[in-house]
């Protein structure tokens, strides 16, 4: 009985739409028209969409780079905070601010930073180096993606550092002292002991971060809309364009997303599997 509200919400907002989504991928549904079954036509159309391979590549590059920076950076920041103790906390809470503010606000803020000419970065470049930056940040293919990755890391890295810090503080102090009495080198402590203890958290966090990075939509939609020259289109934004842009072909849009799912699952499932298995083993050993 008590589970009913949550279950109902889940059914209405996740379960039913997911199943409907899969179903729509096999129809020729367009807005305002009824759906007719058309087999695997949508998947063929999605694959032959000229931007599709580029979008897949961009999504993978974006996710891999962003996740690496966020998880490794978060881990290192947590290690540092753990060693300096209490004072670090207030500052680390402050660093959560980019994650707390609405995503659209942070995207617009970064447009202000990198606006050419006259944005804040341009001004700072002028002040420090005597000449304006003259880089078309959002108009140059490689640069635009780099800025979007940086924005993503700016928002999310401190969140993971606090998650890892929380996990670290769960490690019983006496275990740490025991290890230190055997080997006092802090690097060995970190790599041989703490890293192993945190492995479940790190693996599952990586999986989750990867999911979120793959699904990143609002910053790209607001800042570049997939441009310049479709260089920042990810599967998410491409599907949105196919579904709401000129094409309005929802079946194809969803087919594109479904085609990408195996790539996501190959990364996420092993991470979660190994993470939970190691976690269970640690609980048994404790």
């Amino acid at each position: 009985m008590l589970s009913v509200p949550a279950l109902l919400l889940f059914a209405l907002t996740v379960a039913v739409p997911t199943v409907t989504s899969f179903g729509l991928a096999f129809t020729d549904k367009r807005l305002g028209r009824s759906a007719h079954f058309n087999g695997l036509d949508n998947f063929g159309a999605a694959l032959s969409e000229p931007i599709f391979p580029l979008a897949v590549r961009t999504t993978i590059v974006f996710s891999l780079v962003a996740v690496s920076v966020k998880i490794v950076g978060g881990y290192l920041m947590a290690a540092f905070l753990w060693r300096i103790g209490r004072t670090g906390n207030i500052a680390s809470y402050l660093m959560l601010l980019p994650w707390l503010i609405p995503g659209s606000a942070s995207a617009l803020l970064w447009i202000w930073l990198f606006y050419e000419p006259g944005g804040l970065v341009d001004r700072i470049h002028l002040l420090l180096l005597g000449s304006p930056a003259q880089s078309n940040w959002f108009g140059t293919p490689g640069l635009a993606l780099a800025v979007l990755i940086a924005l993503n890391c700016w928002r999310e890295l401190p969140f993971w550092s606090l998650v890892f810090l929380g996990s670290r503080s769960q490690i019983p102090q006496q275990l740490v002292e025991e290890f230190r009495s055997i080997n006092s080198s802090p690097i060995v402590l970190e790599t041989r002991f703490i890293c192993r203890m945190l492995m479940p958290t790190v693996l599952i966090s990586t999986a989750l971060s990867f999911m979120w990075s793959v699904a990143e939509f609002q910053s790209i939609h607001i800042i570049t809309r997939g441009g310049p020259s479709n260089s920042t289109h990810t599967i998410g934004t491409l599907a949105f364009e196919l579904g709401y842009g000129g094409g309005i072909d929802l079946g194809v849009a969803i087919a594109a997303l479904v085609l990408f799912l195996p790539i996501v699952l190959t990364v996420v499932v092993p991470l979660i599997e190994v993470g939970t298995r190691v976690g269970r083993q640690q609980e048994r050993n404790a």
């Binding site: 509200p5 906390n89 207030i90 500052a91 659209s104 995207a107 579904g243």
Partner: protein, 278 residues
């Protein structure tokens, strides 16, 4: 509250490292702070030279000009959606966590785990069918719809948080009160509610932050400018021929404030709880 630090760095090294970290943290959030600072200029100057931090005078005219835009309506919509979403999240998550932990309901535990699947499905995948359903039911533009959708994003994590919380909370006090012969209503009011309040507060704050920043679904569901939330409305300041930097830079700190308050509340309560239950 000591959080670790097994390696006994010398005091000087610790203080220097802390100071360095505080500087880095301030640099990290500087774009937000600098935007607020930059907005304290005359609107015309902000529009012509957005990247400057200081102008001919310090004025709050940009903030005042913001009030003449629909921003006020957007802010009100955001607050309404966020508060409703918080309430809905607690209504869904609290009974479920209670049932799965205290009631030891197997179904409850399974449902809670199932809910976590939500985070494995990208929202772009759910957007289309949800928009269909919403349009068919004529619920487009409704605050309640947005609140429900935002709640669906926070309920799984909220359930997990509350389960952990309820497991650690000294709920045996509630049972003890029963054995003392105290009737249900005073028991709930004087024992249960104070026991559960901190956990519920954290969960409500978290749900508020999620709903406050929600964009992907909002962009599809909220079509009419009067129904926009702040999250959806802000990008409109940088559209068209003239980009209204003055409105945007003034809006940034206003949009930050509620999320900051909720974040501080949630983190303070969590720290307090960790201290109590160590």
């Amino acid at each position: 509250m000591k959080i670790g630090g097994a390696i006994p760095w010398r005091r000087g090294r610790k203080s220097a490292s802390s100071a360095l970290f505080i500087v880095c943290a301030l640099l990290w959030i500087s774009p937000i702070v600098l935007a607020a600072l930059s907005a304290l200029r005359p609107p015309s100057e902000i529009r012509t030279s957005p990247g400057h931090l200081f102008g001919s005078e310090i004025t709050i005219r940009s903030y005042q000009a913001l009030l003449e835009t629909p921003f006020g309506v957007w802010l009100a919509n955001s607050l309404s959606v966020a508060f409703t979403s918080s309430a809905l999240t607690v209504i869904c998550a609290l009974p479920l966590s209670y049932a799965s932990v205290v009631g030891q309901s197997k179904l409850g535990r399974r449902v809670a785990r199932l809910l976590l699947l939500t985070y494995l499905i990208p929202s772009t995948f759910l957007v289309f069918p949800i928009l269909f359903g919403v349009t068919m039911l004529g619920l487009r533009g409704s605050s309640l719809t947005m609140a429900l959708l935002s709640a669906s994003l926070s309920v799984p994590f909220a359930t997990w948080l509350l389960q952990t919380y309820i497991r650690l909370a000294p709920l045996q006090l509630f049972e003890a009160a029963d054995q003392e012969g105290i009737s249900m209503l005073p028991r709930v009011w004087h024992v249960m509610i104070p026991l559960l309040s901190p956990g519920v507060l954290v969960v409500a704050a978290f749900a508020f932050i999620i709903a406050w920043g929600e964009y992907t679904f909002s962009v599809g569901v909220l079509l009419h400018p009067n129904t926009y939330t702040a999250s959806v409305g802000l990008p409109h300041f940088l559209q068209g021929d003239i980009w209204r930097w003055d409105y945007l830079l003034a809006a940034i700190p206003i949009v930050t404030a509620p999320a900051l308050v909720c974040g501080v509340v949630a983190l303070r309560v969590l720290a307090w709880l960790r201290g109590r239950w160590r």
